[in-house]
């Protein structure tokens, strides 16, 4: 087994574990972490693809590496936004749960314009 294949399999495992976590875990923070795990798997796969596409005189295909960096930035901002929402939710209700019938200061009237 050569290196790109090994990394590709690792990536598949990461994506699998992340997907499982995203679907099964009820807590938002764990879901966010699971999303990052999937993201890591995808980025690793992209890295492996870059290595496999190495051309003469170059250690790897540069295009995936450029896209990777963008992808990491996007995943980072997504995580930041999600964590900010979780924190705000905790500030407002004192608990972090996605169940809509949670105790908390639930109000009778949904907000409107």
């Amino acid at each position: 087994m050569n290196a790109p294949t090994l990394f590709g399999l690792c990536a598949a495992a990461l994506v699998g574990v992340g997907l499982y976590g995203l679907i099964v875990n009820p807590q938002p923070l764990r879901k966010i972490l699971a999303f990052n795990l999937i993201g890591c798997g995808v980025f690793l796969l992209f890295g492996a693809i870059a290595r496999r596409g190495a051309a003469v005189g170059m250690g790897g295909d540069p295009v995936p590496q450029a896209l990777l960096i963008t992808g990491i930035v996007v995943a980072f901002s997504a995580t930041a936004l999600a964590v900010a929402l979780v924190l705000r939710l905790f500030d407002e209700t004192g608990s972090v749960t996605l169940a809509s019938d949670a105790p908390a200061k639930a109000q009778a009237d949904p907000p409107d314009a």
Partner: protein
């Protein structure tokens, strides 16, 4: 593709307009952030007008030249560089979105305006910035020529859409925003995985190059499946729709209109791009049937659940779930036509018309619901008496929007469903006709329930809780009229959707 790749590898004379269509809204976001408060609102209105002008200019360039408008970024042609392309489909969406955003902007002036003497607040500022950000990201989705730029555009759209849900800041809306964000992230990471697989297999992410290179093999199927499921989660197609009703119903009316009318169209449009352009030779009729079967389930479930809602905004949100189903009925019809080697324009036109008429009608209906809420102080459907007295124009707008959703002539919904039904019959897929007819009946049931309740005379001595400005009612009615008169598009002399696209479809596989 009828066009050789070389004609799409050079910047068109008016190609710069595509860059402007994306950049101008984002310049507005930055300027608004610096100016703050009232400044942001002023900037937003300048950008709304400028953006509409740009969209019209692009449409003009497309029709004049009769070919796709292309801009090659930095002069680097694909596969190394990135291209922006606007074909007929993209231009139709650009125009429709510009009009709807304009209508929503006028409406929102009352809800999110900061009149002189009133302290500037955070929510209005955020609304105007996010409105422009949604617009810029949508424009990028429509004109992007490669799958990675599309990924970034989709993420931008999510980041702009999620905060719109929680503008109010109440716990319940925060929760729906978070749920929406998690669904969207799940969708985008699957999409990215599919794009990565495609790059690994074919060494390019450019849509045209990929379309020429892909062939049916396991890696392509895996990529197509991953990307499609990801986009379905973002579009909220049944059974991945659970996040939509609370998110869309909980947001302020103007934000609901943006989310329900526009944001979900971004990921849907991308699914259309993938299935019709990138994977045209890879997708099979059975897989398209599966997609439409989910759509059919969405139509039935969404409409029936909508009928059981007690609140107007939730009813409209579930109606969106159902209408998303119609958007996906076009896939087996287009694939079926392509497989029979018939021009698939009729099915594509039907789908596009459905998207535009839904965008205008749903925006109008959500904004009408917002006006009803302001006037009555609640939106319980059982207790809508007096609306016809206080808001005659708004009720007419609601009914016109509803008529377009039902598919009464001459509405855009009628023409869309007419095209889809006739294609379904041509390609011997009669079961979709049945779904559309039942869906239309269910839709008419809940539209009539609302209108009849609203027509009831108010009790003695009843006065509206608040007066709504006249221009808000006009904005709602104008959007509803757009949707209702969209059926007149049948008389349009140029088949815009077809420009820059394959006229004779590639042979489907198998």
């Amino acid at each position: 593709m009828p066009h050789s790749l070389s004609t799409q590898d050079v910047t068109s004379p008016s190609g710069l307009l595509l860059v402007l269509a994306v950049l101008v809204p984002f310049i507005g976001v930055l300027a608004g952030m610096v100016l703050g408060g009232r400044g942001a609102q002023r900037v937003a209105f300048v950008i709304l007008a400028a953006g509409l002008a740009i969209a019209i200019a692009i449409a003009n360039a497309l029709v004049q030249s009769g070919d796709t408008v292309v801009y090659i970024l930095g002069g680097w042609a694909p596969p190394l560089g990135v291209a922006l392309r606007a074909d007929g489909l993209a231009v139709i969406m650009l125009l429709a979105i510009a009009v709807v955003i304009g209508g929503i902007g006028v409406y929102a002036r009352a809800d999110f305006g900061t009149p002189p003497g009133v302290r500037e607040a955070r929510a209005p500022l955020m609304f105007w910035l996010l409105l422009l950000a949604v617009w810029g990201s949508l424009n990028l989705v429509f004109v992007s020529g490669d799958l990675f730029t599309l990924y970034v555009a989709l993420e931008l759209l999510t980041f702009a859409g999620v905060p719109l849900v929680s503008l109010g800041g109440q716990p319940e809306t925060l929760r729906s925003a978070l749920r929406y964000l998690l669904y969207a992230l799940f969708g985008s990471v699957l999409y990215l995985l599919g794009a990565v697989l495609l790059y690994g297999a074919y060494g390019t992410l450019d849509i045209l190059l990929l379309a020429a290179r892909v062939h049916p093999e396991p890696v392509t199927w895996a990529a197509a499946a991953l990307m499609t499921v990801g986009l379905l989660a973002k579009t909220a197609l049944f059974p991945l729709h659970l996040w939509l009703p609370p998110a869309h119903a909980g947001a302020p009316a103007a934000a609901s209109a943006v989310l329900s009318g526009l944001v979900i169209k971004g990921s849907w449009f991308l699914a259309v791009r993938l299935w019709l352009d990138v994977f045209a030779g890879v997708v099979t009729l059975p897989s398209a049937q599966m997609l439409a079967a989910l759509g059919a389930a969405a139509i039935l479930v969404g409409n029936i659940v909508a009928l059981r809602q007690a609140r107007l905004k939730l009813l409209i949100a579930y109606s969106t779930v159902a209408q998303i189903g119609y958007l996906f009925l076009m896939f087996p019809l287009a694939t079926g036509l392509a497989a029979a080697q018939i021009d698939s324009t009729a099915a594509v036109n039907g789908g596009m018309l459905q998207a535009i008429s839904h965008a205008t009608a749903k925006a109008a209906m959500f904004m009408a619901a917002g006006l009803i809420y302001t006037t009555l102080g609640h939106d319980r459907i059982a207790d809508l008496r007096g609306v016809a007295r206080a808001l005659p124009m708004t009720l007419v707008a609601f009914a016109l929007g509803g008529a377009s959703l039902i598919g009464l002539p001459p509405s855009g919904g009628f023409l869309a469903k007419w095209l889809l039904v006739s294609v379904a019959i041509t390609t011997a897929q009669w079961w979709w006709v049945l779904v559309m007819l039942v869906g239309g009946l269910l839709t008419s049931a809940y539209v009539f329930i609302v209108v009849v309740r609203a027509m009831a005379p108010p009790s003695e001595g009843w006065t509206p809780r608040a007066r709504v400005p006249y221009y808000q009612q006009v904005a709602v009615l104008a959007l509803a009229l757009c949707s209702f008169l969209l059926g007149m598009a049948a008389f349009c002399p140029v088949d815009v959707a077809r420009i820059g696209r394959a006229v004779v479809p590639e042979i489907g596989w198998p």
